[in-house]
Symmetry: C2
Amino acid sequence: MLTLCVRNVLSRRFFTFKTKRCTVTLLLQHSWRRCSTAQTETLDRVSMLLQLCVDRYYVSPGQTNVELFQRGLCCNYGPLGMELRRNLLDQWWHSVTKSRAQVFGINTLSGSRETAALGQGQLRIVEYEHLKQSVEQKELNKEQLIQEVHMLLQRSPSTRTNLLQGALEQFVPSLELVNRKLPFGLAETGLCFQPSEGSAEVTQTSLVWFCSPRTSSQWLDHWTRQRLKWWRKFALSPSSFSSSEVQQEELEEAASRGVRIIYDFPWGQEIVETLWSRGDAELLSIHKGARSKLQCRDGRKSVPHVVSITANMDRGVMAFLSNSLQQLKREDSKQKLHQRKVLKLHPVLAPIKVALNISRGATVELRQVCEGLLQEFLEAKISVWPGYLETLPTSMEQLNAKYDEMGVLFTIVIGENTLESGLLQVRNRDTTIKETMHISEIKNFLFRYISATDNI
Amino acid sequence: MLTLCVRNVLSRRFFTFKTKRCTVTLLLQHSWRRCSTAQTETLDRVSMLLQLCVDRYYVSPGQTNVELFQRGLCCNYGPLGMELRRNLLDQWWHSVTKSRAQVFGINTLSGSRETAALGQGQLRIVEYEHLKQSVEQKELNKEQLIQEVHMLLQRSPSTRTNLLQGALEQFVPSLELVNRKLPFGLAETGLCFQPSEGSAEVTQTSLVWFCSPRTSSQWLDHWTRQRLKWWRKFALSPSSFSSSEVQQEELEEAASRGVRIIYDFPWGQEIVETLWSRGDAELLSIHKGARSKLQCRDGRKSVPHVVSITANMDRGVMAFLSNSLQQLKREDSKQKLHQRKVLKLHPVLAPIKVALNISRGATVELRQVCEGLLQEFLEAKISVWPGYLETLPTSMEQLNAKYDEMGVLFTIVIGENTLESGLLQVRNRDTTIKETMHISEIKNFLFRYISATDNI
């Protein structure tokens, strides 16, 4: 169980609690410094979610790491968290590139010497020893020393803080691809550094959409609808995702309009994606005002306007984990009441689709059946958990509880019976119903189940 | 055509040539400063390859960028290069995680404050303005200024130069996953920075394998066989990939054995992957010698040995592009002799599986057929090139030449005939044979073709 200890709630912004594997400190919203009962319940819920993420291999243990995770920043992910983010990025990629023929993937560098040489770029990668040696040169006076540091910074590459810059730079080489015809988009996912968060990392997705000036506002609306639909598609309670127009006074310098997609976390709202209608100023500035190079064939030879669509997929992972956690009361076989926790992640997002287990009386033959099935699943790219390798004795009930917390979609149990009849037992995470199925059918069954939920 | 100009060959290491879209400078091996005829031919071949990569959307134009690419570093990739690297990483992931149940994916941070605080880590991310302001403080004398820079560096996160460190740190939380049972592995792909290459970026793949001390040499051999097989599987001439044992005097400090997988580029051999048997020293050092935390159940309660398997996938992209480029002589319809260039990338690696085109007499109906097929392919995750959107008039011969250079596997032509009979023409890149096929069969045909080559 959790031990929640409210420590100096009024003066600090933290709650600390101990989990099996680590001590976690919760970051609270400013307004929460005085806790009501409802707020304490929410805290319980949040700390339970974080504990579950650590215990069930989504997030690596360690207070600093869990804090990064909760703040929607990139952290050390365990195997399940890593796979969840991978699935999420795949879905994003597929949805953005399949939506239209005119979306092209690109890959740009995360460090740039050109930006650095221009004196731009808030973060720089410097060589430790080199900088140390430079400032320790005995013959330099203070003025020269400052000069030396400046030069070194100027020559060090800057790291990107977003993916927009790279896409704007790639606009000209991409024009040939589309015969200068608008609209088209450049898609990219990658790590960006956040100067405002102490150089923390964030996994961003970016679609930069180039369109004719008169259609940019319509495209902003189009992409807002598309993106909101995408977030909601994978949510257990879709209404937790919403969109809101950015107020005039909060608009970024170059932007004429902005929309935010927001997720309602237990502790408050956070932005998961931002869409801006940015005009042509940045594009012109990056290409040094060379209008003729930028003009497109949309009837008027205009420089395109830019709509940028940027999401934070680390916060996305956190949002879907938070959204999918259900607490259910259930009775066990001895009629004791239990809290059942289930991570009801969408089937296409769930990092493990199926767990393979052996019922009591494990023999060499049963293990061989498992190995065979495991290979079959892996080759069909169905991610599988090798529960049969577990050597500690656990009851099926305990196993199911663990798999529910991991969000495993189906649990297969192979027993003596399977060797004779080829039949095995399949348990569904969401219905908890157990079905008997022939071993030859199981792969196709899983395949169909997952694809069906994908196409809703 | 290329304009090769040998400029100061004896004093510098560059060849410069002009392509349609940019000027490219070739980096030469040291021994090449005097060119024989054979070497000039190789240069021709290399410059042709680089030109093709730029012209056919694999690599973004620009001399610095193409140089990064040739040096096996991460560069700005165009849509096709991006997709090729993506396919390569997917294949790596699939091959490593499917090979055994005991391989788990992880994600670690690319920056670390802990490493930095220990005074380790060659590269640091610093805030430009912050560092600038710190050194410009008027009241500081030189000593204090040096102190200030030191402190700032100490507090700045260090960026990773490899993925090994992260995997070693994740060893302890991973032990629970496998019930302390050996062997198991942690897999990760990600960007690393190369201090030796001026902080350039490289896309690395890493499998860190933990095994009992007495089996580590066998595992090194096992993984060498597996990895060499993997590289060769996708190569047109598999013998260009080879492995070689690292000589005793070249061994890294902690390592007892090492093996390199090498690709034979036109300009010489380069390392694409390195396998080290590293013992337990690094694992012990990272976990501060806490043996009891690290011990595994392999009969003897020993601290595992580490086998690290690290590849450079940017160089991998370059290797497969270089390997798959074939020059063939062919006669055109007017019996003129042409050089035909084909990028015979392995079907699972080819970034575009199929191009969709309209034969002469494009109508609204034909375009609608194309749109329908495009959606069908995209939903089946078959990457498709929307050739029918091309508005410049091109002959089918020119189109085929272009698609061959892009490495497009199949070209579909939809004509008036298709509207009546449902039949379309499918051209195979490798055989150049054109088949007639019904529109309802094409998706399954492509699917089967690609899977068949995947399972060889």
